[in-house]
C-alpha cells in the first residue's frame, strides 16, 4: 500500500539559465558544478532526501544529458528502492499536450499522468536551481496545519532585489493576500523562493481550469491568492539563486568565507560520487613542499605545488610550481602550468593554462564584457570547457574564452579586458 502521507515531489530542472553563459553551454543549470564536487541540484535533492520524501519526478528540457547521468538511479540520495525512486520526465509527444514545456505550470500540467500514477495528498514543487538547506517536512506540516490549498516558501530579501522575485503581502496569520510578480516598485520585502506545496486535488483543478496559463508565478498563483487559501512558509537562512555568473561566483566564495554559514557537509547535502567517476577514482589531495594554501576548498585528487588563495578547486586540479590562484573557481581536472597566474576567474572543466600565462589582469575591473555586458561586469573572466591558453598569454578582466578554444585560435597573446574569443 502506498502511503498517502508522503507527498510527491516535482523538481523543475528544465530552465536554460542563460545568464550563466558558457557554464550552461553543455549542461542544464541544475547540473552546473558547485563547491568542488557538488552540482546545484544536489541541494534540492538532498533536502528531499533529508525530509524522507520517497518519490521525485525531475522535469527536464534543456540539455538534460549531464543531469540524467548525474541522477543515475537516484541511489546517491537514497531514492532507489521498492517505494522510492527518481524519475526523469522529459517533454514528449502524445495524443494530447504534445509540445515543449512552455513554463513551470505547463511542465507540471503535461505530467498530470505521472501525478495520477503516484497518488498523494500533496505535491511539493521545487526548483533545482538553488543553494539552500530547508526542512521540507516542516513546511509540509505547516501546510497541513494551515489547511492551505497552496503554501509558498518565502523569505525576506533586500527591497532592492525584490524586482527579481514574486513578492507577497501577508496578513497576521501568514496568509498571502496580495501578489506581485517581479514588481518594479517594491511594496514588500517578502520574496517567493519558487518552493510550493500544493494540495494535489487543488493543483489538478487549477491546472485544468485554463490550459493556456503556463507559469505558476505569473498566472496561477495570483489567481489562487485572490480566491483560495494561499499561505506563506517563512524561511530564514542561506538561500541563493545562482542564476548569474556573479551570483555563482559569490555563492562559491560564501562557502569558503571564514565565518561562512554554508556547509554542504553539515547541511547533509550529498553529491553523486559515482556519476562520471566524480569521486570514485580520486585519491587524496597532494600538497607538495613549497606549496601554500589559504582560505580555500580543495577536492580529492588535486595536486598543489604553487599557491592557492581564496579559491574553490574541484577534483583533479593540478596547480604547478610558482602558480598563483586567487579568488577563483576551478572546475575538474584543470591544469595550471608552471608560473601561471589566475586571478578572479571561473575555469570550466579540463582547462589548461600554459606556462607563465596570466588569466585575469588589469586594474580596471569595470570594463564589462563587450558581447555580454550584463553577464560579466565585475572583473570575473570565464574560460570554457577544455580551453587551452597558450604559454605566456595575458588575458584581461571580464573576458570570455569559448569552450574548446586552442592556442591556434588566439590571434594575439594579449586579450584585453572585455574581449571574447
Amino acid at each position: 500500500m502506498r502511503n498517502l502521507d508522503n507527498p510527491l515531489v516535482l523538481l523543475l530542472a528544465g530552465g536554460v539559465g542563460s545568464r550563466l553563459n558558457l557554464l550552461v553551454q553543455t549542461r542544464a543549470k541544475p547540473a552546473v558544478p558547485f563547491a568542488g564536487f557538488y552540482r546545484i541540484i544536489d541541494f534540492s535533492l538532498s533536502n528531499v532526501m533529508n525530509a524522507g520524501f520517497p518519490h521525485v519526478g525531475v522535469l527536464t528540457q534543456y540539455k538534460p544529458l549531464s543531469l540524467m547521468r548525474h541522477l543515475g538511479t537516484g541511489d546517491a540520495w537514497d531514492l532507489s528502492g521498492r517505494i522510492r525512486g527518481v524519475k526523469i520526465l522529459p517533454p514528449r509527444t502524445g495524443a494530447k499536450d504534445s509540445d515543449w514545456y512552455k513554463g513551470t505550470a505547463d511542465a507540471v500540467r503535461q505530467n498530470i499522468d505521472f501525478i495520477q500514477a503516484h497518488p498523494s495528498r500533496e505535491i511539493v514543487i521545487l526548483s533545482g536551481d538553488h543553494i539552500y538547506r530547508m526542512d521540507l517536512e516542516d513546511m509540509l506540516r505547516h501546510h497541513r496545519r494551515k489547511e492551505a490549498d497552496v503554501t509558498i516558501g518565502m523569505m525576506v530579501v533586500p527591497k532592492s532585489e525584490i524586482h527579481q522575485f514574486g513578492a507577497g503581502i501577508t496578513n497576521d496569520e501568514g496568509r498571502i493576500i496580495e501578489w506581485e510578480e517581479k514588481p518594479k516598485v517594491p511594496r514588500t520585502n517578502l520574496a517567493s523562493m519558487g518552493i510550493y506545496v500544493f494540495d494535489t486535488e487543488y493543483l489538478l483543478k487549477i491546472l485544468t481550469e485554463n490550459r493556456e496559463e503556463s507559469d505558476f508565478g505569473m498566472h496561477l498563483l495570483p489567481k489562487a491568492i485572490e480566491r483560495d487559501n494561499v499561505f506563506a512558509y517563512p524561511f530564514h537562512g542561506y538561500w541563493r539563486d545562482v542564476g548569474t555568473i556573479q551570483a555563482y561566483w559569490e555563492a562559491n566564495m560564501d562557502v569558503i568565507r571564514p565565518d561562512s554559514d554554508i556547509s554542504p557537509q553539515a547541511w547533509g547535502i550529498r553529491p553523486n560520487p559515482y556519476a562520471e567517476s566524480l569521486a570514485a577514482d580520486r585519491c587524496s589531495a597532494r600538497f607538495k613542499s613549497g606549496s601554500s594554501v589559504h582560505n580555500s576548498m580543495i577536492s580529492a585528487g588535486c595536486v598543489i605545488e604553487g599557491e592557492v588563495v581564496n579559491s574553490v578547486l574541484s577534483p583533479g586540479v593540478r596547480v604547478g610550481k610558482n602558480v598563483l590562484v586567487k579568488d577563483s573557481v576551478i572546475l575538474h581536472d584543470c591544469v595550471l602550468e608552471e608560473g601561471a597566474r589566475v586571478d578572479l576567474a571561473i575555469l570550466d572543466k579540463r582547462v589548461r593554462v600554459g606556462k607563465g600565462a596570466v588569466v585575469g589582469t588589469g586594474k580596471d575591473k569595470k570594463i564589462a564584457n563587450k558581447e555580454h555586458p550584463k553577464h560579466l561586469y565585475t572583473g570575473i573572466s570565464l574560460l570554457g570547457k577544455e580551453v587551452v591558453i597558450p604559454a605566456g598569454a595575458v588575458i584581461g578582466r571580464n573576458c570570455i574564452i569559448s569552450p574548446y578554444r586552442k592556442p591556434e585560435d588566439f590571434s594575439s597573446l594579449n586579450i584585453a579586458s572585455g574581449e571574447t574569443i
Binding site: A35, G36, F37, Y38, I256, P258, S263, P264, Q265, R270, P271, P273, A279, A280, D281, C283, S284, A285, R286, F287, K288, S289, G290, S291, S292, V293, H294, N295, S296, M297, I298, S299, A300, G301, V303, V312, L313, S314
Partner: protein, 419 residues
C-alpha cells in the same frame, strides 16, 4: 561461454599480524587504512580490477567484519555482475571435521569445492596484505607460456632482510622476466638468495588440488611457502619465478607501516598514488559524504596527503590525513599518519604518531618524538581515545583502544604501553 572468467583470484585476507599492534586490534591487516584514503586490501583489489580480473574470492578469518563491510558487494572495484563478483569465504562447519583455517594452504583447501565449481583455467592466489601496483596479466601470461605448474612472483630484497621471506634461486631462462626456480627455502636463517616470494602465486588448478590433498593428509602445517612450494619442488614440478621490479610495501611492523606511508610523500614519491589507479569503497565510513577539504587563512599544509572532509587550521607537514581529520588553530602535525575523523585540539603537537580512528587530542597535548624522527620510534594511539588537554606522551608509546579516562595520566614516558 565466452564471458566465463578463465582466472579465479583468491585473496588471502584473514591474518592479524601481531606486530601491527593496536592497529589490528579490531580489524585484519588487510583492512588497515593506508595512504590517506584507502585500506591495504584496496591495493590488490584495484590491481585485480585494472588487470580485468573480476572473479574474486576473499579468504577471511580474523575479525572479518571490517573487511566484509569494506568490500561490500564489490561494486567499488566493478566486481559485480553476471560473471563478476567478490565472494567472502569465512571458515565454516561441515559434516566431517570443522576447523579454523590452519594456514594459507588450508584456507584454500577448505574451499576447494568453491574453486572446482568455478573450474578456472588458472588460479591466482595472492596475499591481501601488501602495498604494490602490478598488472597480474603479465605473470599469468608468463605462467601460461612456460606451461608452469606454479609461478611465484618474486622481488629482489637486501640479503640482510632475506631471512624474513621465502627466497628462491631463479635460473636465467628468460633473463629479466623470470626463470625456473632451482631452489626455494622458506625463511632461511642464513639466506643465500635475494629473490623473495611476494606471496603471489599462479597455479595450474589440477596440480594444486593434488598437492593440497597430500598436504592435508600427510603434513602438520599448512602454508604455501612452508609446505606447498617445497613439496612441488621435491616432486620436480615446473615451478617458475616471475621477476617483479616495482615498489612492494611489506609492512609487518609499525616502523615499516609508518615508512610505507611516508613512501607516498616527498618530491619524487616511491608510491605514485595518482598513477596507481587505486579505488576504495566510498560507502565505508560514508566518506563520500564529506565535502572538499578546507584550509583556513592561518592553516598550512606541505608535503602531505589529505582527503575530503579534513579541516586544516593549524600546521601540517610530512603527514597523511585520512577523511574527516580536523587540525585546530595553533596545532602542529608532523611526520604522522592520522586515520579517519581525528580531532587535533588547539596548540597540540604531534610528531611521528600513527593514530587510529576517532582519536581526540586535547588542547596543548604533546604526543610523540622530539628531534630527529628517523631515530625515534613511532607512537601508536588506538581508536576512540580521548587525550585530555595538556597530556604528554613520549615516543615509541602504545595506547590501547578505548582507554578509560583514569588511564590518561598527565605524562606517559617513551616506550610505555598503556592497556
Amino acid at each position: 561461454m565466452k564471458l566465463k572468467p578463465k582466472v579465479l583470484a583468491m585473496v588471502l585476507a584473514g591474518g592479524r599480524v601481531d606486530e601491527l599492534n593496536v592497529l589490528t586490534a579490531h580489524r585484519p591487516k588487510s583492512a588497515v587504512p593506508v595512504g590517506g584514503f584507502a585500506r591495504v586490501i584496496d591495493f590488490p583489489l584495484s590491481n585485480l580490477m585494472q588487470s580485468g580480473l573480476e572473479l574474486v574470492a576473499l579468504l577471511s578469518q580474523y575479525r572479518s567484519f571490517s573487511l566484509i563491510n569494506h568490500v561490500g558487494i564489490g561494486a567499488a572495484w566493478d566486481m559485480s555482475g553476471r560473471h563478476r563478483g567478490v565472494f567472502v569465504l569465512p571458515p565454516y562447519q561441515g559434516f566431517g571435521q570443522s576447523n579454523w583455517y590452519r594456514g594459507t594452504a588450508d584456507a584454500v583447501y577448505q574451499n576447494l569445492d568453491f574453486v572446482r565449481y568455478h573450474s578456472p583455467e588458472t588460479l591466482l592466489i595472492l596475499s591481501g596484505d601488501h602495498i604494490y601496483n602490478m598488472d597480474y596479466r603479465e605473470i599469468i601470461e608468463y605462467h601460461r607460456q612456460k606451461d608452469a605448474d606454479l609461478t611465484v612472483a618474486c622481488i629482489q630484497v637486501p640479503m640482510k632482510s632475506a631471512h624474513r621471506f621465502g627466497v628462491a634461486e631463479i635460473d636465467d631462462e628468460d633473463g629479466e622476466r623470470g626463470g625456473r626456480i632451482l631452489q626455494y627455502i622458506e625463511k632461511p636463517a642464513n639466506p643465500k638468495f635475494k629473490w623473495a616470494s611476494m606471496t603471489i602465486y599462479c597455479f595450474k588448478p589440477q596440480v594444486l588440488y593434488e598437492v593440497l590433498d597430500i598436504n592435508a593428509r600427510e603434513d602438520d602445517s599448512f602454508g604455501f611457502g612452508q609446505d606447498i612450494i617445497p613439496r612441488l619442488m621435491a616432486d620436480q614440478r615446473r615451478v617458475y619465478g616471475y621477476k617483479f621490479k616495482g615498489y612492494w610495501g611489506y609492512t609487518r611492523t609499525i616502523e615499516e607501516y609508518w615508512q610505507t606511508n611516508m613512501d607516498f610523500l616527498g618530491a619524487e614519491p616511491k608510491i605514485k598514488i595518482e598513477e596507481w589507479g587505486i579505488r576504495t569503497n566510498l560507502e565505508h565510513r560514508a566518506i563520500r559524504d564529506y565535502q572538499p577539504l578546507k584550509v583556513s587563512n592561518d592553516g598550512s599544509i606541505e608535503n602531505s596527503l589529505a582527503y575530503n572532509g579534513c579541516v586544516i587550521e593549524g600546521r601540517v607537514e610530512n603527514s597523511i590525513l585520512f577523511p574527516g581529520v580536523h587540525v585546530k588553530p595553533g596545532a602542529v602535525v608532523k611526520d604522522s599518519v592520522l586515520f579517519f575523523d581525528n580531532l587535533v585540539g588547539r596548540n597540540a603537537v604531534l610528531n611521528k604518531v600513527v593514530s587510529d580512528v576517532n582519536v581526540i587530542y586535547g588542547a596543548g597535548s604533546r604526543v610523540g618524538a622530539e628531534g630527529d624522527v628517523q631515530k625515534k620510534n613511532t607512537t601508536v594511539i588506538g581508536w576512540n581515545n580521548h587525550l585530555p588537554d595538556g597530556m604528554v606522551i613520549g615516543s615509541g608509546c602504545t595506547l590501547y583502544p578505548d582507554l578509560p579516562p583514569e588511564k590518561m595520566v598527565a605524562e606517559i614516558i617513551d616506550g610505555e604501553v598503556v592497556r
